[in-house]
Symmetry: C2
Subunit: 464 residues, 2 copies
């Protein structure tokens, strides 16, 4: 087996994990630790300029948890890596048997809020860390970035065009999915169209224009094939000359009873050129021909173009959205927050490293709303507390079985739209947005204080 | 079909493409254009701080070209997207039948140099654009980034640790592959170990430490399972106290005839802490215990740590390498450079947009070396020219069949090592490296001048 596609045929991604998950599990096994523990998956902090996250990736996380198992090929490989026979026997019968709580995809979330909470025998809960982080990082990062771009476009359409520079096959698929959740109108990725039912869009490339002896011949050839929905790329040689040729072809189409769909600009000063092109088109009575813009766009550029009153009807956004170029990762982490103690009850635990404390105990997030339904404040609390607001986490897996009706992609997209709508406007500013209030319940604060003093006493002052 | 893994089972990635490739192909078909054409895949410019590229991704590109075809499910989907019956019949019999030239994986390359050159009927050559760009972008970007990090470490080991924040499954696999090509010692990704034979490494996570009532119990439990190759993570609560406990466990192991492998630092001031930890270990006669560092590392930080004489033996590098965080994409493009004219000979062609000209004609890259074998200068020339230096592109596919013995991953890795060695030192500086000289042959320069003036005359001055 020597290629990625073959390796994916196994449908289960058990070895798509950091090696240390397996060594830790081997040690838990070796030390007879099969007790349940709880882990939180959350994001430590907001990247610069981000003021919220749009959560995505739950469906794939749950699919992973339902299918993870170890094949003979896996076990042979692990044997060669030095794992013992007893542990491999255990892995041969492995399946995930835990409880999972999560917030729904398309929910607005903030730092330190548990997005997924897993309670399972510690070996199972540990082993699944890497895949869950990978999946939530990719989709939540991309949904968040796309949500900012959609917001910047103030109702004009955004099409996701980044397939050629997204990070491989899976990213190509998941960027299409998560940017659609965030409100993009569709994607250029045809496989995402087939796999997820996302609308697909496209225009033409410079190579098509260059393949004809004359630019206008390329325009004529393309609009012969698609007489009513062609978008002609007009900047291969010179955008103004290209616009005049597109207008000529549009008039030829009109004479045959057809209408040119649009023209696309992919370079240069888009504000200035779009105004010139609009004028050329309008002077010929082609007010219906749309102007489509692409080329290195992101939320900041789109916002500026609209401020400058560029005459652009829709945007194709590629690389900078599809790689989340200004911040291509989230500080997403997966931390133990409770273990079972010898008295067979759960003990809350926490990490104390410099600037990297975690929140102990089994937690819920409560979201308070204003009278008119806008988000006002979140409170992270222990599950046993009664706190004002709607609980965000609900049970999605019960003892290893899905206990949640997976929403359709359209339902997730609608939910995302509603979530973004309910987030008050200041938090959606592209830069210098205020910090949305996320509080810790008094009980949780007390627990942190107690544990901090215990840990300082036991682990730092008395060093061994 | 509703998930990514299912969609990948088809083993061929024909729909993993931008929609416009298909609309352009439909129009070529509709206009009876089945003539051959040549496309170059190249990178337009170097990102800031990069001074070379390390090419990777050819094996997967060739695998794609050999397997692309359209299934009934694909054709049904395309029918629903409005493509005509004749074109769909053509796609039903589609396979790639072109010639492919490429530079070997692991070769150092520079802007505008063709990395892959395809001559095929224009529909075939056009259709494969998106996948090839996606694959070469990901792997070349990652091999280049990893090569800088390996260089910064001046011979100390780098392990690729980024799986949790790499962009999805395919990126997780390909980052492991391309960073191994670039000289990393291995990866944490177990599936990459199985799929590619890459050595896998791991230590332990904070959760393992936290799962025990006392940190030292966690150290004892782990080193019970792996008595001779444990690396203990010592910063869960306090790194100095952690080092003292690790030293105590190391002495306990010694008493049983074992040796602790190492300790890992994952936060804080790594220079200062590593010196303190080294002292604690050495004072107990534990000079053999290695110090491993991780946590937000990249080439700049590693270079600084080594300048500051941090006592670190090996580095785990994750997110910033695995996402190429300072520049998560390359300006990789795929441009038409010749078409067949009505006289059945090839005509060179070029694009003329502002600042985005392309190089016309079928080209080869010649690399000149100094007497002692160091790279001196590259020349991009037309294939029919005789130029000093070694030609970099060779034929890898002949009329759709592989005509090239794919090197093993280890061979590619050795070749990369040799390439980086032969690149003179100044070009490997992490910042402010000089520009490696890449010249255009006089014949190519003349051709550009002629075409530029023709295009200006035909497409811009005489506008339609």
């Amino acid at each position: 087996m020597n290629n990625f596609l073959d390796s994916l045929k196994q449908e289960n991604m058990s070895l798509f994990t950091d090696f240390y998950e397996l060594t830790m599990c081997a040690s838990y096994f070796d030390n007879n630790n099969f007790e349940p523990a709880t882990f939180d998956l959350f994001i430590r902090r907001l990247p610069e300029n981000r003021s919220y996250f749009l959560f995505a990736g739950l469906e794939q996380s749950l699919q992973y948890l339902q299918t993870i198992h170890f094949s003979e090929e896996h076990l042979d490989y692990l044997k060669n890596q030095g794992f013992g026979a007893d542990f491999l026997d255990y892995l041969a019968g492995f399946s995930f048997s835990g409880d999972v709580w999560a917030i729904p995809e398309g929910t607005v979330a903030f730092p330190n809020e548990p997005l997924i909470r897993i309670t399972a025998p510690i070996i199972e809960a540990q082993l699944v860390e890497t895949f869950l982080l990978n999946t939530v990082n990719l989709q939540t990062m991309m949904a968040t970035k796309a949500s900012r771009i959609v917001h910047a476009a103030k109702g004009k359409s955004i099409i996701e065009f980044g397939l050629r520079r997204e990070h491989g096959i899976d990213a190509g698929m998941k960027v299409a999915r998560s940017s659609y959740i965030a409100g993009c109108q569709g994607s250029s990725n045809v496989l995402a169209g087939l796999a997820y039912g996302i609308p697909v869009f496209g225009t033409m490339a410079h190579s098509f224009v260059m393949s004809y002896p004359k630019e206008i011949d390329a325009f004529r050839a393309f609009s012969k094939t698609f007489p009513n929905n062609s978008t002609l790329l007009i900047d291969t040689y010179n955008d103004i000359a290209g616009a005049e040729k597109a207008a000529a072809v549009a008039k030829e189409l009109e004479a045959k009873g057809f209408r040119l769909g649009g023209v696309r600009l992919d370079s240069g000063d888009l504000t200035k050129t779009s105004k010139q092109v609009r004028k050329i088109l309008d002077e010929q009575g082609l007010e219906y021909v749309k102007i489509f813009a692409s080329g290195d766009l992101d939320e900041y550029q789109i916002s500026q173009l609209l401020k400058d009153e560029a005459r652009i009807d829709a945007f194709g956004v590629g690389t900078k959205m599809g790689t989340s170029a200004d911040r291509p990762y989230l500080d997403v982490i997966y931390k133990l927050c409770e273990t079972m103690n010898p008295e067979e009850t759960f003990s809350p635990i926490m990490k104390l490293s410099k600037d990297k404390n975690t929140l102990p105990g089994r937690k819920q997030v409560f979201r308070s709303k204003s009278k008119d339904g806008f988000y006002q404040k979140d409170t992270i609390a222990l599950t046993e507390e009664k706190i004002e607001g709607d609980p965000l986490l609900s049970k999605v897996m019960d003892r290893g079985k899905l206990s949640y009706k997976l929403p359709s992609l359209l339902e997730i997209r609608c939910s995302a739209q509603e979530n973004i709508f309910k987030l008050p406007a200041p938090y959606k500013e592209l830069t210098n947005a205020p910090t949305y209030p996320v509080e810790l319940s008094l009980k949780l604060q007390d627990l942190i204080k107690t544990l901090k003093s215990q840990l300082t006493q036991n682990e730092i002052l008395h060093k061994s």
